[in-house]
């Protein structure tokens, strides 16, 4: 039985190896807090009313703060503009189950 275990990798371990091959930087913690944090933050929207109102007032001439040394951290672009905000209206339509 020992030799058999050495030869066959459990399907889960094989899948894990596949995943790690694709994403080498995958978190060291086995499937832990990253998912939990993501779960807890569901629905979080980052909203700056100042930028929003500026975009709304179409202040095209005014320059948004330039990108800092870290080019990945562009805050201005991440803030919703009026056209990006999804229209959160309730369904006025009756459910099709009742049709």
């Amino acid at each position: 039985q020992d030799t058999q275990e050495k030869e066959t990798v459990s399907p889960e371990r094989a899948e894990e190896a596949k995943l790690k091959a694709k994403y080498p930087n995958l978190g060291q913690k086995p499937g832990g807090s990253d998912f939990l944090m993501k779960r807890l933050q569901k629905g979080q929207k980052y909203f700056d009313s100042g930028d929003y109102n500026m975009a709304k007032a179409k202040m095209k001439n005014k320059q948004l703060p330039s990108v800092g040394p870290d080019k990945n951290l562009v805050t201005g672009d991440h803030i919703p503009t009026p056209q990006d905000l999804p229209q959160r209206k309730s369904s006025l339509v009756t459910s099709k189950l009742a049709g």
Binding site: G32, F35, L97
Partner: protein
């Protein structure tokens, strides 16, 4: 397996299907919860658009002795609306996470429905009479000129077409920082619990301005967070007992008589894991997506990603029964992680006599396990089996190797067609199975 005929095996037949036929599914139409009431006469569904649709079983027709009454629309209403919490910059979905019925006490029906943040008590009542013959008003409601009133009459109630009205009687809000995953009505029929990722609150059905926190697993330092609450339920008979499951595959049973804050469990149910089998996926697939007590109260069932487990409340160290739902997915975990399917939350349910358990899977398949015969069956909810009283043909998935005729290979499964919500009539062999946007009702073949 079940349905192969002979003996006492149930033969399931298509009865009805509700919902749109087209494949283009609007998000709002995604069904998010299904629940029979205590008598089984009413069947409620909730959807992502915040709407509730209630079906009522029609009275049994003596001439149609070969089938039970059909379920027809009884009431439909908008339960929750989308909200935006400006203070926390949080978008609150209107999706109905759970519906739970109260036992019927009078002519009206009551149910609790919840989204991520707010629980509502709805009263559904029938009106089949209306007053007629007012002195000061015309029948259409316009006020009469008082000078034209020369006689007096007593208004009387006259029959009218049945109208079913839903009205929100209580709104239980602002008690959950995190997202509500469960509500459960206590056997005292006066209180209920609501659970979010980190906390469980106890409410009185009459009181909306306060609730008691009975479980709090939020760590002082959020960096230390390792586990969240995934489901909770009150014991069906003991009003002091409830359980909650976690993302780590554990279930804790708590006794409210022990202390006000039930952070210390009375029992901890956990199956020991073989450390040599541990992988990146172990914890994710062990996360319990649903926990349900048996009607008897002696057992509880948990659903994790690949299996259904039955636990005897008297034995904490391992489940008494384990049923594999779709073990062939274990060698597909990498892609199921990449497409997020590994996080799908499947529910499970008991039949009325606690002898059979049911849960959903992919490709619009659902599974049933007979605890007595140890047989199981895979059935499919599909419009292809549309004729009433057509017996459903069992399905088989071919994990590897040669695929037999009528089998479907794992790679051909449609992972977008998931059955997350199923419900079993409390007394009869009638089941409600929700695909993404359709509700199927199946019955056993009556001879």
């Amino acid at each position: 397996f079940l349905g192969a005929g002979g003996g006492n095996d149930i033969q399931w037949c298509f009865s009805q299907v509700k919902g749109a036929v087209d494949d283009d599914v609007a998000e709002a139409d995604i069904i998010s919860t299904v629940e029979f009431n205590h008598s089984g006469e009413l069947l409620a569904t909730g959807d992502k658009g915040g709407r509730v649709v209630i079906f009522q079983q029609e009275q049994e027709n003596k001439s149609q002795s070969h089938s039970r009454g059909e379920y027809n629309v009884y009431s439909t209403f908008q339960s929750h609306e989308p909200e935006f919490d400006y203070l926390k910059s949080l978008e609150i979905e209107e999706k109905i996470n759970k519906i739970r019925w109260l036992p019927q006490k009078n002519a009206a029906q009551f149910l609790l429905s919840t989204n991520d943040k707010t629980i509502k008590l709805w009263k559904i009542s029938e009106r089949d009479k209306r007053p007629e013959g007012y002195n000061l008003k015309e029948e259409d409601g316009r006020y009469r000129d008082p000078t034209t009133v020369t006689t007096l009459r007593v208004p009387v109630f006259r029959p009218m077409d049945l109208m079913v009205e839903a009205s929100p009687r209580r709104i239980f809000a602002n008690a959950h920082t995190y997202h509500i995953n469960s509500i459960s009505i206590n056997s005292d029929y006066e209180t209920y619990l609501s659970a979010d990722d980190l906390r469980i609150n106890l409410w009185h059905l009459e009181i909306t301005d306060r609730s008691f926190n009975i479980v709090d697993i939020k760590p002082a330092n959020m960096e230390e967070l390792t586990e969240v609450i995934t489901a909770a339920e009150f014991h069906p008979n003991s009003c002091n007992t409830f359980v909650y499951s976690s993302s780590k595959g554990t279930i804790r049973l708590c006794d409210m008589r022990a202390s006000a804050l039930c952070d210390q469990h009375s029992k901890l149910f956990e199956e020991p894991e073989d450390p040599s089998n541990r992988s990146f996926f172990s914890e994710i697939i062990s996360s319990i997506s649903d926990v349900k007590f048996s009607h008897s109260g002696r057992y509880m069932m948990t659903r994790d990603y690949l299996s259904v487990k039955i636990w005897d409340l008297n034995m904490e160290n391992r489940p008494v029964e384990t049923y594999q739902v779709h073990e062939y997915l274990r060698s597909k975990l990498c892609s199921l992680y990449e497409n997020d399917c590994i996080f799908d939350k499947f529910e499970c349910c008991w039949n009325g006599s606690d002898s059979i358990v049911m849960t959903g899977s992919y490709n619009n398949f659902f599974r049933m396990f007979d605890r007595n015969t140890k047989r199981d069956v895979t059935l499919e909810a599909s419009r292809e089996n549309n004729k009433p009283r057509t017996v459903l043909k069992p399905r088989k998935v071919c994990a590897s190797g040669k695929r037999k005729k009528d089998e479907i290979s794992v790679d051909s499964l449609d992972f977008n067609k998931k059955i997350l919500h199923t419900a079993w009539h409390p007394k009869e062999n009638i089941i409600a199975v929700a695909t993404t946007n359709n509700l199927y009702i199946f019955q056993d073949k009556m001879n």
